[in-house]
């Protein structure tokens, strides 16, 4: 799993890559929470994520809740079918704000 953070139009864009599982999700969680320390608007780019498990989903849920508490925004972009499968099984596909591209996400949040 690789992880990269960029600022795009005042929005923190966290790009994740590879498998997000029990092994890697603590780092993802930590990074997402760190982003909310500095910014209230965070986008997660899931285009390169090949697998996500329940612990990875839990990290996303936690970030979603922090955003709401801080009156910030949190959205997912480029959700692969593998990830979407898990989100829909968890009935979270309607909880998260999902955008097709980073541009759409930052535009919506900015």
């Amino acid at each position: 799993m690789a992880l990269e953070v960029n600022e795009v139009n005042g929005v923190s864009v966290v790009a994740l890559e590879g498998d997000i599982d029990l092994q890697s999700s603590p780092a993802v969680r930590q990074q997402l929470l760190a982003c909310f320390e500095k910014n209230t608007r965070v986008v997660v780019d899931l285009s390169a994520v090949t697998y996500i498990d329940s612990s990875g989903v839990a990290s996303l849920v936690e970030a979603f809740q922090v955003a709401r508490k801080k009156n910030g925004t949190f959205s997912l972009v480029s959700v692969s079918s593998a990830v979407m499968r898990v989100l829909s099984l968890a009935r979270l596909d309607r909880v998260f704000t999902i955008h097709p591209t980073i541009e759409a996400a930052t535009a919506a949040q900015g």
Binding site: D19, D21, Q23, Y51, S54, S59, V61, R85, V95
Partner: protein, 595 residues
């Protein structure tokens, strides 16, 4: 120097309050009195001195003494006396002197002048300064038991000669005294026996605590031990290792009773202690042998069958040190295989085991059972009267094959032991069962029949998060191997991953190096099954519930995800009774739920 006059002076100086010094003229009065004294006392020894005084005074003599035979019947010891010289504790050979002659012939004697008797030994007089002139003696006996004799010395009254009348009186009193002494000895023996019995009871209680308690019904090993006496020289033990394998043994200490019980306690401690570090039974028995030889003496030894059973494979490693051959019972064709001893009993010769211990045999139970027993079973007497023998043991095992294990062992033992009757020898019986009925659902069955039952592969990995990717890759390959399509495969991968996460996080509590997960991928006719086994403490399946999805919060999703994508997901009883076995079933070629 004591003399006749001195004796009379002593008599006058020390009258006994309870017994007036004046001689009772009437024989009957004395006999009645003495019989009453003896009957009223629990201890003949304490009234003996008083009785001797009364008799001496009654007959009008100078001294009297009571001689009792020692247990080996070779020595007469003076245990009480009356007169001017105290000879209590004096020992004479049982066949010597006039007293000896009376005991030997079992008849009373009147010796009116000892100088005319060849048997008279003057050595005692020389030592004590007393002068013996005449002797009246009667042997003491009860039935055939010779106890000793009473002698009276130097008649002083009348004509100074003992009369047949005196002898008759002494014989009459002697019989009452003999009975009293006999009763005292019986009482002492009973008290000693009672004390010994109490001590044995305590020992038996401690010994019972050394045996393992009854295991769960589905535990694969059960044992029974019935001592012939209070304590047993037989024993068995069962010890489960953290990885699920189980050590067991059955042993028989040579001899019976307390010394055998003590050696049993020592050997059983050695087994428990050394099993934790031993690699296989041969090595363990070799180590126990060396330890026993270092300190064992008195020619005692121990026969033992020690084994290590792996419930996950149904395999047993076994070492037999001089013990009765265990029987491997094949449930399918009802046949038996005897596993003979390859090594001598333990505790006889040190260092004979070789670098790798005693020989070890590998057995596959194949859903059958291994019976280990002591000769207390084979050599027991049946109700018909004959010896049970090995054929009798085989017949009993066959007859009770369908009975649950604990009841089966009790039934087999019950065939040679009636309630309330004791056995001739200690009896111990242990069974190691490959839990056949449960196996079709378990990992173990599949592992043993890899090709036949559609086992695709087995994976054993440490239960750690950094191994999950390996597990996912393996799962993906197993699904592909079955020809599953990509989406179906992705769902199964997720389910297996989530199940493994639960093992890591919940069963093993998130500790690294806490244990392994064994994963079996099994293709059945219409489904792919994944069996996940761990060796952690049992998880309560009821406590693991899918979460309420309307509650949006981190965590708790795993079980919901598993149930969503699998046709069946459940805990099944683990084959060894240890750890947890979680079984996932996902049908091939069916419509994928939710897609």
């Amino acid at each position: 120097m004591p003399s006749r006059d001195a004796a009379s002076a002593a008599r006058r100086a020390a009258p006994t309050e309870a017994l007036p010094p004046e001689p009772i003229k009437d024989h009957l009065g004395l006999i009645a009195e003495m019989t009453r004294v003896f009957a009223a006392s629990h201890d003949a020894h304490t009234v003996a001195a008083t009785a001797l005084e009364r008799i001496t005074l009654h007959v009008g003599a100078e001294a009297a003494s009571l001689f009792l035979l020692t247990d080996d019947v070779e020595t007469l010891v003076c245990t009480a006396c009356y007169g001017p010289v105290d000879i209590t504790g004096l020992r004479i050979p049982a066949n010597a002197g006039i007293v000896g002659r009376a005991v030997l012939r079992q008849e009373g004697l009147i010796i009116r002048d000892v100088r005319n008797d060849a048997d008279f030994g003057s050595a005692i007089d020389a030592k004590t300064g007393f002068t013996t002139r005449s002797i009246l003696v009667t042997p003491l006996s009860v039935g055939r038991d010779q106890l000793g004799a009473i002698e009276i010395i130097n008649k002083a009254s009348g004509d100074g000669l003992f009369s047949p009348d005196d002898l008759t009186l002494l014989e009459t009193l002697g019989r009452a005294a003999a009975l009293a002494i006999h009763n005292t000895r019986l009482t002492e023996r009973l008290v000693a026996q009672e004390r010994e019995r109490h001590e044995l009871e305590l020992a038996a209680e401690i010994q019972r605590d050394l045996l393992p308690g009854a295991g769960a019904h589905d535990f694969p090993i059960h044992g029974i031990n019935i001592p012939a006496r209070a304590v047993s020289g037989d024993f068995y033990d069962i010890l489960t290792l953290p990885d699920g394998r189980i050590w067991f043994n059955v042993a028989d200490v040579s001899g019976k009773g307390m010394n055998a019980a003590l050696l049993m306690a020592k050997t059983s401690s050695l087994f428990r202690c050394l099993a934790k570090s031993a690699e296989h039974p041969g090595q363990l028995l070799g180590a126990i042998n060396n330890e026993l030889c270092e300190t064992n003496s008195h020619g005692m030894f121990v026969t033992m069958v020690g084994g290590l059973f792996n419930p996950a494979t149904g395999k047993v490693r076994l070492s037999n040190a001089g013990h009765e051959p265990p029987l491997l019972f094949n449930l399918t064709d009802q046949s038996f295989t005897a596993i003979a001893a390859d090594a001598p009993p333990l505790g006889i010769a040190a260092g004979i085991a070789g670098p790798d211990g005693f020989p070890t045999i590998d057995l596959n139970l194949n859903s059958g059972a291994l019976y280990i027993f002591t000769d207390g079973l084979t050599e027991a007497t049946t109700f018909g009267g004959g010896m049970l023998g090995i054929d009798g043991v085989r017949a009993l095992i066959r007859d009770h094959a369908e009975t649950p294990p604990e009841r089966r062992l009790r039934s087999i033992a019950g065939a040679v032991k009636l309630p309330g009757q004791s056995l001739r020898d200690d009896l111990t019986l242990l069974v190691v069962e490959d839990n056949g009925p449960m196996r079709p659902q378990s990992v173990a069955d599949v592992a043993e029949n890899a090709t036949a039952a559609g086992e695709i592969m087995r994976l054993r990995v440490p239960a750690r998060a950094d191994r999950l990717k390996l597990i996912r890759t393996a799962t993906e390959q197993a699904a592909r191997f079955c020809g599953a399509e990509a989406a179906w495969t992705a769902d199964l991968v997720m389910a297996v991953d989530e199940a493994c996460q639960n093992v890591i996080r919940h069963a093993y509590g998130g500790r690294t190096d806490a244990g392994d997960i064994v994963i079996d991928f099994v293709a059945t006719v219409e489904a792919l099954e994944v069996h996940l086994m761990d060796f952690a403490a049992p998880v309560d399946p009821a406590a693991i519930k899918p979460r309420d999805l309307s509650d949006v919060r981190p965590g708790g999703l795993g079980v919901h995800l598993i149930r969503s994508v699998c046709d069946d997901a459940r805990f099944v009883p683990p084959p060894a009774g240890v750890g947890n076995l979680f079984k996932l079933t996902k049908r091939l070629g069916t419509q994928i739920k939710g897609r």
